[in-house]
Structure formats: structure tokens, C-alpha cells
């Protein structure tokens, strides 16, 4: 019994530390002006998030976040930086009051809303009582997969994954339409000159 309390304590400490890192990184991203630094900080932010997902027992999500959030997103942003050749946020941030006010009011309202949420990690909270027990008890016999996340993703909610593919496909077409013709356009311009 004593061991369990120690594990929970260590989990909580790691959780608190990583969340503090995340907050510091977010503040740094707001204050930094160099776009390269901002993108690198964003990569660090995603990696910290992946670590937090491991602490919160979401291994599959942690893999995806580390590979896609920290990896692909960062590479895409770096690619954009290389294409736009714009490395510094130019204008000094104007001290507008309205955005800060909007953010403070929204944040205050959201924090007020958290008082009704069950405590972090509470086994009695409603989110733990609904569909979850059925997935845990029956998924192995119904799908034959030990990993419940895989079972739900590919079997119970397979249509969600299909919808996700549609979104990726649409986004891919969009990106191709927007910048696919870059090289040919460039060549044409060069020929005309």
C-alpha cells in the first residue's frame, strides 16, 4: 500500500513540473521575436506534451504527439520559414489593451468553470463510469486486440478514422492547389523576363 502512495506522489510531481515547463515555454513563445527560435520552442513544447501524455497513461497519444506534433509540425514550419525568407517578427508588438482584456475575461470564465469538474484522476468521475467499463471488459473478446485504444480506434469507432482520412485528403488537395504550381509559375516568370 505504501508503494502505491509513493508512485502516485512521484507521478504528481512529474506532472506538476512538466506542466510548469509547458507554461514557461508558452510565455517564451509569446515574447520571442526570432521566428526560428519560436519554431524550435514549439518543438520543445510538443515534446514536453508527449512526456506528459506518458505520465497520464496515454502511451499511444504520446507516440503520435512526439512523431507528428514535435516532428512533422516543426518540419512544416521550418519549411515555411525557408520559403518565406522572413526570419524576424518585424513590428514591435503594439501595446493593445483589447486582446489582453478578451483573453483575461475568457480565461477567468474558464477557470470559474473548472470548480465543477471532478478532481484530476478521480476514479468516480462520470467520464470513468460511462462507456469505458464496457470497452475494458469486452474489447479483448470482441476484437481480439489487447490494446483497447487500437480496438476502439479501428473497430468501435472505425468511421471516425475514415472521416479523419477524408480530412487529411482534403487538406492535401488544398496544399497542392495552393503551392503545387510554384515551380512552374517561377519558370514562367523567369522566361517572360
Amino acid at each position: 500500500m505504501k508503494n502505491i502512495t509513493v508512485t502516485v506522489l512521484i507521478d504528481t510531481l512529474i506532472d506538476i513540473t512538466l506542466l510548469a515547463f509547458l507554461a514557461i515555454t508558452a510565455i517564451a513563445i509569446i515574447y520571442m521575436r526570432n521566428l526560428f527560435v519560436i519554431i524550435m520552442l514549439f518543438g520543445i513544447f510538443s515534446l514536453h506534451t508527449a512526456g506528459l501524455f506518458v505520465v497520464m497513461d496515454a502511451a499511444d497519444v504520446a507516440f503520435t504527439e512526439a512523431a507528428i506534433g514535435a516532428g512533422i509540425s516543426t518540419v512544416l514550419m521550418l519549411g515555411t520559414l525557408a520559403l518565406t525568407k522572413n526570419h524576424e517578427e518585424k513590428n514591435p508588438p503594439h501595446r493593445a489593451r483589447l486582446p489582453l482584456l478578451v483573453v483575461l475575461i475568457t480565461g477567468g470564465a474558464l477557470i470559474y468553470g473548472t470548480y465543477d469538474i471532478p478532481s484530476f484522476g478521480d476514479p468516480q468521475s462520470p467520464s470513468q463510469q460511462h462507456v469505458k467499463p464496457r470497452y475494458i471488459e469486452r474489447s479483448v473478446e470482441e476484437t481480439g486486440v489487447a490494446n483497447t485504444v487500437t480496438a476502439v480506434l479501428a473497430s468501435y469507432r472505425g468511421y471516425d478514422t475514415l472521416g479523419e482520412l477524408t480530412v487529411i485528403f482534403t487538406a492535401g488537395i488544398g496544399v497542392m492547389l495552393l503551392i503545387g504550381g510554384r515551380l512552374t509559375r517561377r519558370k514562367k516568370q523567369a522566361d517572360e523576363q
Partner: protein
């Protein structure tokens, strides 16, 4: 008091991150920075969902002998989908930035407005 702080610390930091991303999107003029802010906002929503699915003293939902308490797999599935969708929207946004840069020669919001004489 300690119970309330430990039990809600996650949600408070998530809200702080959400607002940090939101502030970057509405206050800063550089388009790449706006996309970074948007991504921070997205990531904070992921954290919120995973926090709700967490059970203290539980384990990853992979069924095995000797474990009875698992975290909720449903938010994990939803967030797996959301991460991939998030990246595709980010990619689309970045492609738009590249295109805007080609057309206007700048990715600063107010310079674009100036060229358009829209402000």
C-alpha cells in the same frame, strides 16, 4: 485546500496555455507566429482531454494480467484523431502563408492590410 489545488492544477495550466495561444493568435501580427499560437491552443485542448481520462494509480489501457485499473481509452482515441487533423490544418495554414508571401512579399498582417488599403 491542497486537494483542490492538486486536483485542479492540470485544468488551470491547460487554461493558461489555451489563453497564451489565443493571445498569440489575436495580438501578434506575424502569420507564422499566429500558426504557432494556434498549435499551442490545439495542444492545450489535447491535454485537457487526456487529463479528464486519467485515473490516479491506473495504467495505460492495454489489457494484461494483474492490472484492473486502466485510464479511459476513449479520450485517447479522440485525441489521436485530433492530432492528425490538427497537423493537416496546420499544413494548410502554412501553405496559405507561403502563397500570401508570394502575392504580397510579406507575412506581416498590417503590411498586408496596407497594401490592400483595407485598414
Amino acid at each position: 485546500m491542497i486537494d483542490i489545488i492538486v486536483g485542479h492544477y492540470n485544468y488551470w495550466v491547460v487554461i493558461f496555455l489555451m489563453m497564451a495561444g489565443f493571445y498569440t493568435v489575436i495580438d501578434r501580427g506575424n502569420l507564422i507566429k499566429k500558426i504557432a499560437g494556434l498549435s499551442i491552443f490545439q495542444t492545450s485542448v489535447f491535454l485537457l482531454y487526456i487529463s479528464i481520462g486519467y485515473v490516479s494509480d491506473g495504467t495505460t489501457p492495454i489489457i494484461a494480467e494483474g492490472f484492473t485499473r486502466y485510464s479511459n481509452p476513449l479520450p485517447h482515441v479522440l485525441i489521436l484523431t485530433a492530432i492528425v487533423v490538427g497537423v493537416s490544418t496546420t499544413a494548410l495554414g502554412l501553405a496559405l502563408i507561403v502563397r500570401i508571401n508570394e502575392a504580397y512579399g510579406t507575412i506581416e498582417e498590417d503590411e498586408i492590410h496596407e497594401q490592400d488599403k483595407s485598414l
